[in-house]
Amino acid sequence: MRGMRGFGKWALPVYSVIAFVFLLIPIAYTIAFSFNDSRRSNISWRGFTLDNWFGVCQAQDVCTAFGKSIAIGLVATLVATVLGTMIAIALVRYRFRFRSSTTLLLFLPMATPEVVLGSGLAAQFLAAGVQKGMLTIVLAHIMFCISFVVVTVRARVASLDPALEEAGRDLYANPRQVFWRITFPLLLPGIVAAALLAFALSFDDFIITNFNAGPEVTLPKYIYTAAARGIPAEANVIASAVFLLAIVIVLAVQLTGAVRRKRLLQQ
């Protein structure tokens, strides 16, 4: 829209700034209320305090739920990342029959509403007589993370120059050495990105977890149940801390990328 003058020239940037503010309002609200000097329910502002941050585990339920969410996230991320990376390598590098059905099988979990995934899995556990608990939550999380890992890692495999691996083979490296010394280190950024995405999806999942948790309480499930009587400020503290950590990681990755690009351009 470069042809527009006056109003048109400013309308888009101004709108975009408003849209960014809109996206960030609930985040600012959540962080602000982690400093609220609230007694029980954290609804109205009663004054600034750091107590919630220094005594996060005063609210024991929140802390226990947080620990469980971390544990589930780590196990689910590990398994989903390994399984997904293997599929991604096969998709880019190998020719095999049933390629279309494989792609469709990876696509469908992403195109299915979570409530269907959750209730379907719960119906299956019910039919098989499996007790719901930590294990069923982890099994569910691995399932919905795999496809996202495949998508993320596949892009990285596709951008990898096969000549590098050929060079390794020309220098008498055996297939195992080629994989661990050349392929894997080059894929690592993609694998790390996929693992972070999988962890984020698992850590924040509520809808599927709710159907398969039984008596176990993860952090999102705790917040959902507590919403009726009021969320303790400690939940805001944990969410804010996780948010700040994630943002720092993303910005660090972006900055190193920008610096590297600049250096490449100068050479």
Binding site: P26, A90, R93, R99, V116, I146, A235, A239, I247
Partner: protein, 305 residues
């Protein structure tokens, strides 16, 4: 689907044909695909089987046995038809709202900020920033902001846009608002991805051919970003149609806003009426499969994921 918007390397990827053959492919694929067969495909079949169950003849109350009880479907259509219609209406409204709000933002990031890559990166980070903080807490934050004592309602009443006694939370508006907010980034990212590769010389060419800004937008920019618009719309529609957090009473919903997801949750988790909950899940899946099937038919399979 432009889920690849999450992966930053896509644009750099040269197209390469898969070359290797052999058993290794099978070893690499089998564990993950077997996992999806057991924990994704089989549950869908379980869901259909459960949806056809009937109360056990000699069992206790709340026990069910396998049957071919199609009546469950008639029952849930009769009892929850309104919820099904509401889910379709809310999720469609949220998709349209997200498209109208998200397209200009995606255009700004992809085209206006193209000359400043660092700012572009920061803008994309802001778009995905909401994903890093709890979905439930974000929704609760809006509940407080839009509440009867909140600043937004007070302001709207002060300037006489809303009459005294009007409410924002617990209404159709607040649920659609919540759905739109929560899934907006899913709209912006794919549209951004397709606009990022838009060749600006095409716009210059259309101006040279005496198109005004309006017609070059509709006849060049929009058609070229159509893949992003379609992916983004599906990525908003699917989670919005199945959501039960926004419409829940403790979040942005009210007594008359329950969606299919809320009914499935109540029937499955609270009342243990598994057959009817499963029947509703199957209906929701069938409804979602209509746009998804169109998408699959008109997309090359390699581009699906």
């Amino acid at each position: 689907m432009a889920f690849t918007a999450f992966a930053s390397d896509t644009a750099l990827a040269p197209q390469q044909e898969p070359t290797k053959r052999g058993r290794v492919a099978l070893l690499l694929l089998l564990p993950g695909l077997a996992y999806l067969a057991v924990f994704f495909l089989a549950p869908l079949i379980s869901l259909i089987l459960t949806s056809l169950q009937r109360p056990a003849e000699f069992g206790d109350f709340g026990q069910y046995e396998y049957a071919f009880n199609v009546d469950n479907y008639a029952d849930v259509f009769g009892a929850y038809g309104g919820h099904i219609v509401r889910s379709i209406a809310y999720s469609s409204a949220a998709t349209v709202a997200a498209l109208l709000l998200g397209y200009p933002l995606a255009y700004f990031i992809a085209v206006t900020l193209r000359r400043w890559p660092v700012w572009q990166g920061l803008a994309l980070t802001l778009v995905i920033a909401p994903f890093f903080i709890s979905f439930l807490l974000r929704t609760l934050a809006w509940k407080q902001i839009l509440s009867d004592e909140g600043p937004v309602l007070g302001f709207l009443q002060l300037v006489q846009v809303l009459p005294d006694g009007a409410r924002l939370t617990g209404t159709d508006f607040s649920v659609i608002f919540g759905l739109t907010y929560n899934f907006l980034p899913f709209m912006v990212l794919p549209i951004y991805a397709s606009l990022a590769s838009l060749d600006l010389r095409l716009l210059e060419a259309s101006r040279d051919l005496y198109a005004n800004a309006w017609s070059s937008f509709w006849r060049v920019t929009v058609p070229l970003s159509l893949p992003g618009i379609i992916s983004g719309s599906l990525l908003v529609l699917i989670p919005a149609a199945g959501d039960y957090v926004n419409a829940s009473l403790d979040f942005l919903g009210g007594t008359g806003t329950a969606m299919v997801g809320n009914v499935i949750e109540t029937l499955f988790i609270e009342t243990g009426n598994y057959p009817e909950a499963s029947a509703l899940s199957v209906i929701l899946m069938a409804l979602i499969l209509v746009p998804v099937a169109f998408y699959v038919l008109f997309t090359r399979t390699e581009d699906l994921i």
